[in-house]
Subunit: 258 residues, 2 copies
């Protein structure tokens, strides 16, 4: 995938992902010193190409490119990696994006989830509940590089995923941010869910929410209560709130030494 | 202020704010039935103007206008209104935007705050820590109409506001979402703050955060903990998390009958 801008490029170089090539334009040269610890070592084993500003602008995705970009191989993530408990976490906390269409929302949700200790991410396969690619330039920028660190399986058929999660004993929680949530039986409040167990949080489409069959197949349904009937949260704000709640509970558990 | 689009126009008509005029284009006529309960009553006392689609497009702020707009007088809010406890709330919960520059963020934060029971809003005066107008078309759209319901004082000098909050016994909490927060003494975690007391939450600039003197003048400083050093939250996600925490505590207090 392509990564652009000096901050994201630095993130990518730090991440330990396999770098295929670095691209520096004439203007980009002024960032060379900052990137020198990585790109000026021949043992790193990737080429550094120089381009003209004009050529760079032609391939850049941003309007005012900084002249620094690279190609990086996304982490090789197997389905089984999703069920691992990384060091420092008490159990898996997987974010499942099922139908999130805006690349900016995909990136923001991955960023927030990572900040609050998510251990892996999955995006649903294209089709009715397809999710925008987490590796597109726009999603990467909105994720502030989270996609470089978080293990992500992209384009997974939802049915297979739900079966696998069930087999591995990971509790699936459907986020019902929409009015419909109120009519679904057995909806829990965010703080009623036990987030310290292995959990996968399912986040749906910005407008329509999760497909009905996914809501019903999940082990639990969650609804964020509001002070007024009039207001609602956007998809990214709702995800922020739920991952915060998970983090709060997990942190308290670690602090109390349970 | 101008309000555009059938959903927001309906919100405005329901809100009880004083309507100055309604504008319907040829295309907009198809929404007339939905708005009839308000606009087809002569006793409502405001004119309904018809325009051509072309004229409407010329004055519309959106790219694909729905042909429905209105002019509404923002609620007349006095400074003292900020310190009131509305029915249903246990005490004032004021959102103070000090330096939030993006109208979309201003709207999103007001929307989230309202959803989680904020009782009033204030935006700082223009200048170093000026905040985008909450009544601009872009902010109104992002707020999903929250600015029509929440009492808001716009363009307030911060020094005067902080003095008034202190005099009225409202606890001021500075949100330190940035690295700097860690170096400030006496920083609390979101769940360590007592959100059931009268509180004003101060939210700063997207990049630079709150002005240093505001952080120090506040009664408390709050930092949202993260799982990793790499990630951070954007301004709107951080505000969502803090207002959720306030709502969670206030709801629990009401439920326990304290």
């Amino acid at each position: 995938m392509g990564v652009e801008g000096v901050r994201l490029v630095e993130e990518a170089l730090r991440s330990g992902c396999r770098i295929e090539a670095v691209l520096l334009s004439e203007t980009g040269e002024r960032h060379r010193e900052r990137l020198a610890p990585w790109i000026d070592k021949p043992e790193m084993g990737f080429p550094v190409f120089r381009t003209t500003d004009r050529l760079f602008e032609g391939i850049a995705d941003t309007e005012h490119p900084q002249g620094v970009a690279l190609l990086v191989e996304p982490r090789k993530v197997e389905l089984d990696d999703l069920f691992e408990t990384p060091r420092g976490a008490c159990s898996p906390l997987v974010v499942v994006l099922a139908g999130v269409q805006d690349p900016g929302n995909v990136g923001t949700i991955l960023r927030t989830a990572t900040a609050f200790g998510a251990t892996a991410g999955v995006t649903s396969a294209t089709g009715q509940s397809g999710t925008a690619s987490p590796f597109s330039p726009k999603a990467l920028r909105a994720s502030a590089g989270a996609a470089l660190h978080l293990p992500i399986v992209a384009g997974m058929p939802l049915g297979i995923l739900l079966t696998q999660l069930k087999l591995k004993g990971i509790h699936t929680v459907a986020s019902c941010v929409h009015e419909e949530g109120k009519e679904v039986k057995g909806v829990m409040l965010p703080w009623e869910v036990d987030w310290c167990q292995p959990v996968a949080l399912l986040v749906g489409n910005e407008g329509a929410g999760l497909p009905e069959e996914v809501v019903h197949a999940a082990d639990a349904r969650i609804h964020i209560p509001m002070a007024t009937e009039i207001e609602s949260l956007n998809a990214a704000a709702a995800a922020a709130v739920l991952f915060y709640e998970a983090f709060r509970q997990r942190k308290r558990k670690v602090a109390s030494g349970e």
